[in-house]
Subunit: 145 residues, 2 copies
DNA sequence: TCTTGACATAAAGTTAGGTTTAGGATTTAT
DNA sequence: ATAAATCCTAAACCTAACTTTATGTCAAGA
């Protein structure tokens, strides 16, 4: 069992954030001893799920909905599974988008490296795709549709 | 040359967002004909860079700073290159985190698939890591530190 | 020429996800 | 037993990134 301060250190989250999550219903039925929250293994796993669902793009309200399904029991297994399947697809798509962003960044790093060598962008601005090093060309084409 | 409405369709961004970006200084020296904005190739590439830098985690203010560097000329090539190098590292780290999130989601999909087969979580809650299918075990271990 | 649709601005409003503040209660170390 | 650290709540506050509203200008087709 952990106090809110210990959990705060464990997850590197401000105490105020943990209290905010609780107020929003993300720890349904969390145990309290004379008013003080006691975080058990269940709440620790809940926090891991919160971080995961948040990063997958869900809002706090929707995460609360998920926690309510957990309280409702086995009848909501299909809903819960579907939620994770949906978020899995979202994250896969997001990783693809991030790889495109990464390719744009790679291209720009190369671009400014060249600009620094030349002292200007004259040569670069009249550059056609076929004149780029193959790795850079790949990145450029992937990031410019 | 594009009007704001055409750019809005091209990038699927609300017109109000484009005007907001302009107000924030993200299109320095954009051409105007009797008050009406004319978006050229330069502004189109600027928008690609804006989307890229935003997704890499930069705020509008910092993107404005970058656009100012572009106006200042060749003396800011090193700053610009460094910015892209930094954001490249950020995005690489972010993709790693997203892959961890993905592994958590994979595990949870499997978990609720099993729960649905069994009708309850009894078997799952007493499950040790070594009893999981290897692919799921990998995902579980990667997402639980 | 007149109407319609797209453009413009300034300023106020919105939203999510917290954070801070004010005022107490409780626990822990000395 | 007392002081310091940690806990509590309710409510006000904050910020970024837009969006909406009110009001007005411009351009192209009938």
């Amino acid at each position: 069992m952990y106090t809110i301060g210990q959990v705060s250190e464990l997850f590197r989250l401000p105490i105020s954030t943990l209290r905010y999550y609780d107020k929003e219903g993300l720890f349904p039925n969390i145990e309290r001893v004379s008013g003080i929250r006691k975080f058990g293994e269940k709440e620790i796993e809940t926090l891991r799920v919160i971080e995961c669902l948040k990063k997958s793009g869900l809002e706090i309200k929707q995460i609360k909905q998920f926690m309510q399904w957990c309280v409702e029991g086995s009848s909501t297994y299909p809903k819960r599974k579907e939620l994770f399947e949906t978020q899995k697809k979202q994250v896969e798509a997001e990783i693809e988008r991030m790889n495109k962003v990464l390719d744009m960044l790679k291209f720009k790093c190369w671009y400014y490296g060249e600009a620094m060598k030349n002292g200007n962008e004259d040569k670069l601005s009249s550059l056609s795709v076929s004149d780029m090093p193959s790795e850079i060309r790949e990145a450029y084409l992937n990031s410019h549709d």
